[in-house]
């Protein structure tokens, strides 16, 4: 017995009303990391550390402190994510 003919994939592409056109493969749901300020904080920290090397111990200290806080926040984010979205 012949199988029913498969309709050709839709050439029009997705729309807000029809996000999965006929013949397209729906992708599995995937967790995307939420917005976070820690990367920007770490970038600022790296800048302060390098600035501190050529300016003053105070700036260096601020940079190291900010680095520690940002890294801790980043790791906490990762731990939270791996617990809830393993």
């Amino acid at each position: 017995m012949n199988a029913a003919p498969v309709p050709p994939p839709s050439p029009t592409g997705p729309t807000p009303e029809n996000p999965v056109p006929a013949g397209w493969t729906k992708l599995p749901t995937e967790h995307l990391p939420p917005a976070t300020f820690w990367p920007a904080g770490l970038a600022l920290a790296i800048t302060f550390v390098l600035w501190g090397f050529i300016s003053s111990w105070v700036v260096l200290g601020i940079g190291i402190g900010l680095f520690a806080v940002s890294l801790t926040g980043w790791i906490t984010d990762l731990r939270h994510e791996s617990k809830h979205h393993p």
Partner: protein, 740 residues
């Protein structure tokens, strides 16, 4: 009543309703590759304005002979900041921005492999730039973007400007390496089903190849910058007095020439997408374009000394680098042939992206040809320090790379914003750019042949020099008008541009298989993928492209891949450090040296602790495999103790050397010793912090039900141990035999 502040300039489609109310913070905290890509492009535009204004003042100063608009110091500062800004803050962010936005979309991925790392990279751009421009307050560097020593050393540039320049570039370098690692990992590990390595579009492939250059070239620059900073801050003499100014040139150009391809290759990728779509033909010789990119990447590391022919390296070196530099023209020429042949008998649509692509093709070929003349040593000697070189470089960097980036911007703007750019304003901007660019730089070839040297703030009223320079300045002003037209086009199109739809150019790659702009997760579904042009196959079911390869594909582990790439980059960093040690210590120094100052026996004892720590870390991994949490914690603790003993041992050695009067500035042996072992110690400390964090999290019970990232952290730790094997051999053992 509180009215939420909304962004006046950002189209509502780019943000959700909540983010629109808090748009400033939404952009600061974003980890979405598309917004990060847009951030890169916004930074590009800002610094393009700054670098462009600097160029305009340079050209106004040179418009007439004996001009006094700016003095020599200001002129030197201007061309230093112009070069640095345009290379590190305009072109690199532009190519990274487009790669960030479109590589994940082209391979059907939801995001980059490491979204947070991606956010770190992008924020390092404005912060690094702030550091760089802070030098305006402390004395702007006046050394050129290449910062040749000894000119960039403290006696000749005593203000802190060069130090801020170094610090800024180090910050930017960290971000670039992170982006390179992220791009490679994304392409290897994040491809959608059906997107095999043979099927990824050329833009994604070329950026993938390019990221390897970034990962290996930037560490060389970072080493050179650190050494220069040590010279200026700690009193070492790596690059002057008993040190070697030529070593700076070697290190700088070992990075600098691959950097030219870091800038150019992504533009090749853009042209490889635009030309086929607007010629309505698949690209001619896909494999040749793909593999010639690999050839360029490999050869780019073997041509640096063509920047140094005038140093006098001797015939063998000159001949080697001359031949290598001519060789690299071959894969580049292959690409030009591929693009031209793609257009041949195509149904060409002269839309703005294609106009920029055609201009790219002509101008880049001219720049490439004038580049080949610099591979010829005798000719290079005559033209190197003249305006001929300025013309050549700008034909590559502006006529090629900038025009390529503008082709990409006009091609992908509809996808990024959901709006079409104005075709009318786009054409006006294009022609202004073409006339402005060629007006500025074409005449400089002749000025160079007539003997006008580069890097001079003014010139005498020699016959014809005046009007030629005036023409060049008028061209620069026309380019400024072109840039203003581009900004006006972008702003007006963002506000009231025509809706773009999903695929306004009838293109074929996956970024066009989603809405414009794409949703946060990029795709809900993907079309069937059997070739390199899935949307062509979809639109032409009766004549699809032949399938490329099989659907079988394997995606490596993301964390491990990223870590291996970090290790590769670190290997380049330590390789350069060890090369520097050998360079300065192959002939033992009369004062303190390895043989008379380093105690091998004691070093071997604390080295044994470090090597043993690799074994104990492996036992910790094995304990985790056996699900023995207690065993894992115990072995991890032992590893940390052993690593700590190594650090104490190194500290004791430093203490002893310090009390013997051997400080970092004592002589070149001491400088290189502290440089190499200091950076190794820094990496051990970083590894110890990582292990300590792992231990704390393991004790907190995080790994009761899931695997820890210990294998990835372990890879890094083992690498640090392997590096010490080389340090031990090269720094402690080899010099004893050389002395004998």
């Amino acid at each position: 009543m509180n009215v939420p502040t909304s962004s006046p300039a950002v189209a509502p489609e780019l943000l959700t309703a909540e983010e629109h109310a808090h748009w400033r913070l939404a952009w600061l905290s974003t980890v979405d590759h598309k917004r990060i890509g847009i951030l890169y492009l916004i930074f590009t535009l800002i610094f393009f304005a700054i670098g462009g204004l600097e160029a305009l003042v340079i050209r106004l100063q040179l418009a007439v002979p004996n001009n006094t608009l700016v003095g020599p110091d200001t002129f030197n500062a201007l061309f230093t900041m112009h070069g640095t800004t345009m290379i590190f803050l305009v072109v690199m962010p532009a190519v990274f921005g487009l790669a960030n936005y479109f590589v994940p979309l082209m391979i059907g991925a939801r995001d980059m492999a490491f979204p947070r790392l991606n956010a770190l990279s992008v924020w390092l751009i404005p912060f690094g730039a702030a550091l760089l421009h802070f030098s305006v307050l402390t004395g702007v560097p006046k050394t050129g973007w290449f910062a040749y020593t000894p000119l960039s050393e403290t006696p000749y540039n005593p203000t802190l400007g060069v130090d801020y320049w170094i610090a800024g570039l180090l910050v930017l370098g960290i971000g670039s390496v992170a982006t390179g690692i992220n791009l490679i990992t994304t392409v290897l590990c994040m491809r959608a089903p059906g997107v095999t390595m043979k099927r990824i579009p050329l833009f994604a492939w070329i950026n993938f190849v390019n990221a390897f250059i970034v990962v290996f070239a930037l560490p060389v620059l970072n080493v050179a910058l650190i050494m220069l900073l040590m010279d200026r801050q700690l009193g070492t003499h790596f690059f002057f007095r008993e040190g070697s100014p030529v070593l700076w040139q070697h290190l700088f150009w070992a990075f600098g020439h691959p950097e030219v391809y870091i800038l150019a290759l992504p533009a090749f990728g853009i042209i490889s997408e635009v030309v086929p779509v607007f010629s309505r033909k698949p690209i001619f010789g896909f494999e040749f374009v793909a593999m010639s990119s690999v050839a360029i990447a490999v050869l780019s590391f073997g041509v640096w000394a063509h920047h140094m022919f005038t140093v006098g390296l001797g015939h063998p070196a000159d001949e080697f680098f001359s031949v290598a530099s001519m060789l690299i023209a071959i894969p580049t020429g292959v690409k030009v042939l591929n693009w031209s042949t793609t257009m041949f008998r195509g149904r060409i649509r002269f839309s703005v992206p294609m106009l920029y692509a055609i201009a790219f093709l002509i101008q880049f070929t001219l720049g490439g040809l004038s580049g080949v003349t610099h591979a010829e040593t005798a000719l290079d000697w005559q033209t190197k320090n003249s305006y001929f070189l300025i013309a050549h470089f700008h034909y590559v960097a502006v006529g090629g790379v900038l025009f390529g980036a503008l082709a990409g911007l006009h091609y992908w703007f509809p996808k990024m914003t959901g709006r079409m750019l104005s075709e009318r304003l786009g054409r006006l901007g294009f022609w202004l750019f073409v006339f402005g660019f060629n007006g500025t730089f074409a005449i400089q070839h002749i000025l160079g042949f007539m003997g006008m040297p580069r890097r001079v703030y003014t010139y005498p009223d020699f016959p014809n020099w005046g009007w030629m320079n005036m023409l060049s300045t008028i061209g620069a002003c026309v380019m400024a008008l072109a840039a203003i037209t581009l900004v006006v086009n972008i702003v007006t199109s963002l506000i009231r541009g025509a809706p773009a739809g999903n695929n306004p150019w009838n293109a074929w790659t996956l970024e066009w298989a989603t809405t414009s702009p794409p949703p946060a997760h990029n795709f809900d579904a993907l079309p069937p993928i059997h070739s390199r042009r899935p949307l062509w196959d979809l639109a032409n079911p009766d004549r699809p492209d032949p399938p490329v390869g099989t659907d079988a594909m394997a995606l490596p582990n993301r964390a491990k891949t990223g870590l291996w790439l970090l290790i590769a980059s670190e290997a380049a960093f330590f390789g350069t450090l060890l090369f520097v040690f050998l360079y300065f210590n192959l002939t033992p120094h009369p004062g303190p040296n390895s043989k008379n100052s380093l105690e091998l026996g004691r070093t071997l004892i604390f080295s044994a602790c470090l090597f043993l720590s690799s074994f104990t870390l492996w036992r910790a991994e094995a304990a985790e495999d056996r699900r023995s949490r207690g065993g894992m914690i115990a072995w991890l603790a032992v590893t940390i103790v052993l690593g700590g003993i190594f650090m104490v041992g190194q500290g004791y050695e430093y203490w002893g050397l310090y009390h013997s009067g051997i400080t970092v500035s004592r002589n070149l042996f001491a400088s290189t010793f502290f440089l190499v072992t200091g950076f190794h110690g820094f990496h051990v400390c970083a590894g110890l912090i990582a292990l300590f964090v792992m231990l704390a999290i393991a004790i907190a019970g995080d790994f009761r039900t899931r695997r820890s990232p210990l294998v990835a952290v372990g890879l890094y730790w083992h690498f640090v141990d392997v590096v010490w094997v080389f340090v031990l051999l090269i720094v402690y053992i080899l010099p004893r035999y050389l002395s004998a």
